[in-house]
Amino acid sequence: MATTSTGDIEKTKSVEVKKKLNVLIVDDDPVIRKLHEIIIKSIGGISQTAKNGEEAVNIHRDGNASFDLILMDKEMPERDGLSATKKLREMKVTSMIIGVTTLADNEEERKAFMEAGLNHCLAKPLSKAKILPLINNLMDA
């Protein structure tokens, strides 16, 4: 079951509501889900989590999910990151998807993951420094 942690919505002087970065964190490891939740919160975003690729796909099935960014782990039970990314792109999900790999993954594995439909690939462990430049580009777009 996916869970949500929300932050406050800020208001600018012009009464417009500034939307926070909305992120889906997909990882089978609860430690990494928690770490990524806090990283996203620390850069002013809000997040929802999914334990595997199948949960991530199910979240999008009704067509109402709208994430700016999906952090997708590669190796997960039930449905791995590669398969989930392919499926999400087939479902016309246009969110930025960042694949999260390990240093042990070789170039071919990373390439296959990218070709499944990722926008970027980062190696674990993630940190604010690694993710911020990509997110700044996303917010500027």
Binding site: P30, V31, K34, L35, I38, K41, T102, A129
Partner: protein
């Protein structure tokens, strides 16, 4: 009181540095500490608590997989090792991560004795880290109770 705080702070600094020098922790733990702030004051303790729960669960999975009479499914062992490697890397548990690298190699080589040795070592190491970090958190509590602030420790 100031003298006590200063003494505790020095003890804390020395203890924390020793954890890095002895290889228990690496830079990722430093990154973790940086994420802790007033909005998430217990973040490090929460993540570490999840990590140690993960260790218990995954080591249990590895032990059960290695305990199969007949043919051991090394890919099943390897899957748990992979997950532990990921979570230990994410919290900066350097020794545990290092052991997982070796452990994974033994799994890929279907080396039963090597896997059993690594399993024993991983169990010892995560428990040792848990004790060390508990001591570190206890020092933090003592500093705060004495009216002081927990110092930022510059490892470099």
């Amino acid at each position: 009181m100031d003298a006590l705080v200063a003494q505790l702070q020095m003890q804390y600094r020395n203890y924390t540095v020793s954890l890095y020098q002895q290889g228990f922790l690496d830079d990722q733990f430093t990154e973790l500490k940086k994420l802790q702030d007033d909005a998430s004051p217990d973040f490090v303790a929460e993540v570490l608590s999840l990590f140690f729960e993960d260790c218990v669960k995954l080591i249990g999975n590895m032990a059960r997989a290695l305990d199969q009479t007949g043919t051991v499914d090394f890919s099943q062992v390897g899957a748990s090792v992979h997950q532990l490697k990921g979570s230990s890397s994410s919290v900066g548990a350097k020794r545990v991560k290092g052991l997982c690298v070796t452990f994974k190699e033994y799994c890929e080589a279907n080396n039963y004795e090597g896997c059993v040795r690594c399993l024993q070592q991983v169990d010892i190491e995560y428990k040792a880290l848990q004790t060390k970090l508990q001591d570190m958190f206890n020092l933090e509590k003592q500093i705060i109770q004495a009216g002081g602030k927990v110092p930022q420790v510059d490892i470099n």
